[in-house]
Structures are given as structure tokens and as C-alpha cells.
């Protein structure tokens, strides 16, 4: 099947999802991100790669961290960045998604960074650009519905590789609200593609998708069993805003059973790292002592996220194949 993210040379044309992305493409993104991490330490925190390119941050759903890190990444590459908070603009007046895109194309956009509450919206835009002969414009998915959040998944992989070096001997636990989490889907795809032998998902039955084990993960409904001897604990945010109906008792009860405390973390390997995509609900899915503790790498995740997004945008903007 044709992968809509890759062009006919197998190079990244859009970044829509990690699902189906070849292992060597994922590795190439992580390898490319590494030298970008040191740019922040320079006197001039800028590289000239995307000079003269216009990048539109199209956020149909609220986000602070993702939008900001995409903006910083684009600016460190010298691109011109335009932020559109679409929920308060034309869409509210009735303009369709593709009309918005067409209008921005008429303003000579080179790249769209898209967040949308509907799964598949970035894919729809990519298809539309292809169908209208504008395949020089690139799309980066910054989170669509419950589907995918590929740059989050990639920055998580970068973080794991930074601390653990090798993926092929790790046990990784993903804890919490997997059902509503696009982050979890991207993490699971990336971890299994990179050869992590054991991925566990831990959470209450009501917050795990049915047949989640088909994704190649081991399901645990018990924190103590699930955290035993893991190398990496990836916490998920409890997504109150996406919940309809009574999936949960109360946040306090959730914390008692599923919240990550120092006592539960002690079951993992002594050098296990704790990750969280943010924003954190302290005292709900994670205890403050753990979030601020020595094993937490939550803030480095944010920093690495800039380098990973720089890598993705610069790989998209230039054709990579001519060097092969």
C-alpha cells in the first residue's frame, strides 16, 4: 500500500503518523535531531536552513507547549512563522478546513503544522494538496483527535535513546488513559517499530481501547504487576475534557490506584526514567515528588522536542534523496 507520507523515492513528504513509518526513517529523524540540540547553546540560536520559508501553525484545538515548541523550532531554523488560532477566526464564521488551507496557500505557505480535534484532518489536508498539484507544500501533524501525535512520539523516542542508548533490550510501560490518547498510539507504534521487546499498557479497563493487545502490547490492570522491572515509565495525562460519561470514579480514587507515587516507582528498575507528555495533573496521574524527582526526565523531553521538530521540518523542506 502506498504510504501517503512518503514520496516516490521513499522520503518523508509529510509527517502524519508514526504508524507505517519505516524504521530507518524514524532512526534518520532521531539522528538528524542530535546535532540540533546544541544550537540553543550558541551565541546566535539560529540556523539558516529554512530562511525565506513560511510556516503556518494551524491550531484548531488549544495547545501551548506543542505550538510554542513548533514555533521555536521553526524560528531557530530561520523560517517565518504565522500562528493561527483558528478556533477564534474564520472557522467560527463558517469557513471549511480546506478553504482555510487554500487561502493560506494563496499566501505562499510552504508548510502547515496542524492540530485538529478530528482524527484524520492533517491527512485530509495532505490529500487535498496532492490532488490540487501542490505537493511542494508539507504537512506536519501536531495532534489529530485520538489518532496520532507523531512529533510527541518521536521526541519520546529521542529521550529514551538519550538515556537508554539501545531500544532492543528495554521494557517500557505506558500508564493511564490510553483510550483517549493519540500520544499513546504514536508511542506504541514507535516503540514496536524500533524493536522494543516488551511494551506494557497499564490502566483501568474503561480507559484502555478494546483489543489494544493487537498493537503488540501486554495489557496490565494492576500497577504493581505492570511496573515490575521496567526501564521506562511513560505516564499519560488523564484527559478530562475528552471524557463522556462515567469512565472513572473520582480523580482522588484514580490517583490511589493508578497515580505514580515513589512507592510504586520503586518496583521499576532503579535507573528507570519517568516521562510525561504534559500538561501534568499533579496528584491525579503523578505525584509531585515523582514529577520533580531524580528519575523524571519530563523537562528534558520538552527541550528535546524542539530539536526533533527542527529535524522533521528541515527533512521535509529539503529533498533528502539527492545525497543517497
Amino acid at each position: 500500500m502506498h504510504n501517503p507520507q512518503l514520496n516516490k523515492h521513499g522520503e518523508l513528504q509529510h509527517l502524519l503518523t508514526i504508524d507505517g513509518l519505516p524504521r530507518d526513517v524514524i532512526s534518520a529523524i532521531l539522528d538528524t535531531a542530535a546535532p540540533f540540540t546544541e544550537v540553543a547553546e550558541r551565541e546566535v540560536k539560529k540556523l539558516p536552513l529554512l530562511r525565506g520559508k513560511s510556516i503556518f501553525n494551524l491550531f484548531f484545538e488549544n495547545s501551548t507547549r506543542t505550538r510554542t515548541t513548533f514555533e521555536i523550532a521553526a524560528k531557530r531554523l530561520s523560517a517565518d512563522v504565522v500562528n493561527l488560532n483558528v478556533s477564534t477566526s474564520s472557522t467560527a464564521k463558517g469557513e471549511s478546513l480546506l478553504d482555510t488551507v487554500d487561502n493560506l496557500c494563496a499566501m505562499q505557505a510552504d508548510m502547515f503544522v496542524v492540530r485538529h480535534a478530528a482524527s484524520g484532518a492533517p491527512f485530509l489536508i495532505a490529500q487535498h494538496l496532492l490532488a490540487t498539484g501542490r505537493d511542494h507544500i508539507h504537512v506536519v501533524n501536531a495532534g489529530d483527535g485520538r489518532h496520532a501525535h507523531p512529533t510527541q512520539g518521536l521526541l519520546d523516542m529521542y529521550t529514551i535513546r538519550h538515556y537508554k542508548r539501545d531500544f532492543t533490550n528495554l521494557t517500557v510501560a505506558i500508564v493511564g488513559d490510553v483510550l483517549h490518547s493519540r500520544v499513546a498510539r504514536s508511542q506504541i507504534s514507535a516503540l514496536t517499530t524500533l524493536g522494543v521487546p516488551e511494551v506494557r499498557v497499564i490502566g483501568p479497563k474503561t480507559l484502555l481501547p478494546t483489543e489494544v493487545e493487537r498493537l503488540g502490547v501486554r495489557v496490565c490492570h494492576d500497577m504493581r504487576e505492570g511496573l515490575k522491572d521496567v526501564d521506562v515509565v511513560m505516564m499519560l495525562r488523564l484527559q478530562n475534557e475528552r471524557m463522556n460519561g462515567a469512565l472513572l470514579p473520582t480523580p482522588q480514587e484514580y490517583y490511589k490506584i493508578w497515580g505514580l507515587t515513589a512507592e510504586k516507582l520503586a518496583l521499576a528498575k532503579p535507573d528507570a526514567i519517568v516521562m510525561h507528555p504534559g500538561p501534568m495533573n499533579r496528584g491525579v496521574e503523578i505525584d509531585s515528588a515523582v514529577a520533580d524527582g531524580a528519575q523524571a526526565v519530563i523537562l528534558p523531553q520538552v527541550t528535546f522536542g524542539i530539536a526533533v521538530r527542527m529535524a522533521v521540518m528541515s527533512m521535509l523542506a529539503g529533498q533528502q534523496g539527492s545525497y543517497k
Binding site: T32, E43, L49, G318, Q320, S322, Y323
Partner: protein, 167 residues
């Protein structure tokens, strides 16, 4: 005729050219990959106290728009304060001058050096920019044709050889 260029002898000649011109505070920056090997050799031979920096110009190339990003770029590392420093950029082969231009641009993003010079093992001709080396062990009498590549190689023991490749 030039298939057995003696890289070791050229390296020695370059060291002798540079010796009277460098001071204890001179800092070298090698361009990946050949220039980095060379800079390490020069620092040792010239007795410089500053360990050499290294530059990968992938993020500063002027052909990014047409050729894209070089796969697996290396880290640029400048282990000294560039502000006011005497810096010698070191490369193995000088050709169009575009790599040197990119390296100078990148260097300036770390600070404002006091003086920048260029040292190369071989000038193969074919310049497309107004760039000239201050130190150069060998200038080829006639420019190499564009379909030939001249590359510096290092073996496991660090011995340098030059190879001419028909691309």
C-alpha cells in the same frame, strides 16, 4: 599523474608553513571529516594548547533548497570562546569555496572572531567564490575536472592518504 599524492608529506609541508604564524592562543577548527583529522594532527605538531573545534556545515550549505539536508549531520563543536580569537579554519581540499563560506558563517554564530584564516592541504582549483587560503601545501597547476573527487582518508592508525576518485 596525481594518483599517489603523498598526504603525509603535504601535511608536513603545511605544518612548516603555519609554524611561524601561529601563537599559543591560535585555535583551529576542522571541517568534517577530513579537516577534523587534519586539525588534530596540526594542533599536536604545532604544540597549540587549545584543542581543535569541528564544524559540520550541513545546516549552512547554500544548496539545501535543491539538494536537501545531508543525512546524519555531525555535531559542530567549538570548545573555545570565539569572541576575539585567532581562528584558522582547516580543510583537506579547497574546491568551489562554498564549504568555506558556510564554515565562516557558522563560526560567526558562535561569536565575533578577531581574525579568521584558512589552511588547506590541497587547492584543486575551480573556485566559485572570492576565497583564498593563507596556508596551502599544494596548489594543483591545472584545476581538476568536475567529475573527479579528491578525498582524504585516514586508516585505523591515523595515517593519511589522498585518493582521486572518478565520480
Amino acid at each position: 599523474m596525481m594518483h599517489n599524492l603523498d598526504a603525509e608529506a603535504l601535511c608536513q609541508a603545511l605544518i612548516e608553513q603555519m609554524r611561524p604564524q601561529v601563537g599559543p592562543d591560535t585555535a583551529l577548527v576542522g571541517i568534517h571529516t577530513g579537516g577534523v583529522w587534519l586539525a588534530q594532527r596540526l594542533v599536536a605538531a604545532l604544540g597549540l594548547k587549545q584543542s581543535p573545534g569541528s564544524i559540520d556545515v550541513s545546516f549552512y550549505r547554500d544548496d539545501f533548497g535543491s539538494r536537501g539536508l545531508h543525512p546524519q549531520p555531525k555535531r559542530t563543536e567549538i570548545p573555545f570562546d570565539v569572541e576575539g580569537a585567532h581562528v584558522i579554519i582547516v580543510d583537506d581540499v579547497l574546491y568551489t569555496g562554498r564549504t568555506t563560506r558556510a564554515a565562516i558563517n557558522e563560526l560567526f554564530d558562535f561569536g565575533r572572531p578577531g581574525r579568521v584564516e584558512l589552511a588547506v592541504l590541497i587547492d584543486r582549483g575551480g573556485r566559485e567564490l572570492p576565497i583564498a587560503p593563507k596556508y596551502c601545501a599544494l596548489t594543483l597547476p591545472a584545476p581538476l575536472p568536475a567529475n573527479q573527487r579528491l578525498e582524504l582518508e585516514a586508516d585505523a592508525a591515523g595515517a593519511l592518504t589522498l585518493r582521486l576518485i572518478d565520480a
